[in-house]
């Protein structure tokens, strides 16, 4: 770079006023950077309101950080179980199942000829064990969070800037040491207002500067209504959900909307088996239990001889709705297993008669099968 040419021409620069009495961002940034740098900054009292960190929704943050605190934030008398409770996760994992063929089904990738290995029995068992561990990693459930509250903070209103600009300016802080949730992204409108960027703008900017694999800056068109319907008709619900997890944040409105839409479609057509042995099964079950619509899933499980799963589903339902008639009845009768399902079918189910019929058919088939063998 030929700087010497310019040295002669340009005048001396004006030194910026560094006596920053309460520069907004240095105070707002908090611990990571203020530890390194000591500013002689005096906080103005009215900045107190601006010193709060970015507003996060009630369930924001990575689930692993909130395992304990979620339980504490519940009411003092009854602790409502959340998605990330260990007990809930155990039940959901058991119900998801572990079909290795489905978890490791061929995905679209570079064509290469298959490899064949000659193994002893012990080696085969070892390889199977490793495959199971890898499958468990793949089956880790994406978090289920509340929808995030929109950001509406206005940091400053400078009327003198009004009319000087035509486009809005988006400033992103690209310091590496800050987690993305706490990153400062502000927008200066042409009207002179300095406001915090909305969640969509934030996600877009973070994707521009810190690109995540599988995520696009602009929303892919596959998430439009018509295209989603096409995907559903092709039974590709798992693909839709995988794309959704890659593209959106777990607490964004689109993520939650698409997930709910997919679950509703599955419930309407009874295609529960599509998500079994995928990582979305737990989320789907959680959704149905919260909406009190577990009948279809229950019937599907009984028809596929998964009575244990059916019983644990009803058990989870009672954990989440302990005040319902079904839970009370089950507690009174100390019901277990098939009996538990019958209690639920009698009290709270919408298709109770159908469930009882299916159970009866299953039991008859079971008896006749055991009699034959």
């Amino acid at each position: 770079m030929a700087h010497s040419r310019f040295r002669r021409r340009w005048p001396r620069i004006v030194m910026a006023t560094l006596r920053v009495s309460g520069s907004l961002w240095s105070l707002l940034t908090g611990s990571p950077s203020t530890k390194r740098v000591c500013f002689c900054a005096r906080a103005r009292p009215q900045l107190g309101t601006l010193l709060q960190p970015l507003p996060g929704p009630s369930g924001a943050g990575l689930p692993c950080r909130r395992l304990g605190s979620e339980a504490e934030s519940g009411s003092s008398e009854i602790k409502k179980p959340t998605f990330m409770d260990e007990e809930v996760q155990n039940i959901l994992t058991k119900m998801t199942g572990l079909n290795l063929q489905k978890v490791f089904k061929p995905a679209v990738q570079e064509l290469k000829p298959p490899t064949y290995k000659l193994m002893t029995q012990a080696q085969l068992e070892e390889a199977t064990r490793k495959a199971i561990e890898a499958a468990k990693e793949r089956l880790k459930m994406p978090p289920v969070l509340e929808e995030r509250t929109p950001i509406n903070d206005v940091l400053a209103e400078d009327k003198i800037l009004e009319g000087t600009e035509t486009a809005k300016y988006v400033f992103t802080d690209i310091s590496y040491s800050i987690p993305h949730r706490e990153r400062f992204i502000v927008v200066r409108e042409p009207s002179g207002t300095l406001r915090k960027a909305s969640w969509e703008e934030r996600d877009r900017m973070i994707q521009v500067y810190f690109p995540k694999e599988g995520r696009r800056v602009l929303t892919p068109i596959i998430f439009k209504e018509e295209n989603l319907k096409t995907m559903y008709s092709q039974d590709r619900h798992a693909d839709v959900l995988n794309l959704c997890v890659a593209q959106f944040e777990p607490d964004s409105a689109e993520y939650i909307k698409i997930h709910h839409q997919t679950y509703e479609d599955i419930d309407k057509h009874g295609k529960y088996d599509l998500l079994r042995s995928t990582r979305h099964f737990g989320g789907m079950t959680w959704y149905f239990i919260n909406k009190k619509k577990i009948d279809g899933l229950l019937i599907d499980q009984i028809q596929r001889d998964l009575l244990d799963d059916a019983a644990s589903l009803v058990q989870l339902y009672h954990m989440l709705h302990p005040d319902g008639p079904s839970a009370q009845e089950a507690k009174v009768q100390a019901a277990e297993g098939v009996h538990l399902i019958k209690v639920f079918a009698k009290t709270e189910a919408q298709r109770g008669a159908y469930i009882e019929l299916t159970l009866q058919a299953y039991q008859e088939a079971f008896v006749s099968h055991s009699a034959a063998s």
């Binding site: 040295r7 961002w25 740098v37 003198i160 400033f171 992103t172 200066r188 602009l218």
Partner: protein, 107 residues
């Protein structure tokens, strides 16, 4: 690519730290870097600044600021040139300078 340097603050301040924040631009693709340079050699690229209001980006001008390093260099005594001052004032990081407002340093 021809590099169009619009460096405004390369003068060496006697007694002060020689670091200053400057702007480097590119022709054909209106794109600026905010750089901390030492007198002659512009070395340390810290932040990114694009001034092309891309239609895809919803008509926004996107600027990235590495605030950790801005703080670091300002503490080390870096001087700011007018466009950078104006930008940082616009972002809310530094207070707005009234003398600069109304005069767009780029046009």
């Amino acid at each position: 690519m021809v590099q169009l340097t619009t460096v405004l603050c390369k003068a060496y301040h006697g007694g002060h730290s020689p670091f200053c924040l400057a702007l480097c631009g590119y022709t054909n693709q209106l794109f600026y870097y905010i750089v901390a340079v030492r007198n002659r050699d512009g070395c340390f690229v810290e932040q990114l600044d694009s001034y092309c209001p891309l239609p895809k980006s919803h008509g926004e001008r996107v600027i990235a600021l590495n605030l950790d390093w801005i703080q670091h260099w300002t503490v080390c005594g870096a001087h700011l040139c007018k466009p950078v001052e104006w930008l940082l004032g616009l972002s809310g990081f530094f207070p707005l300078k009234e003398s600069i407002v109304g005069r767009h340093p780029y046009r």
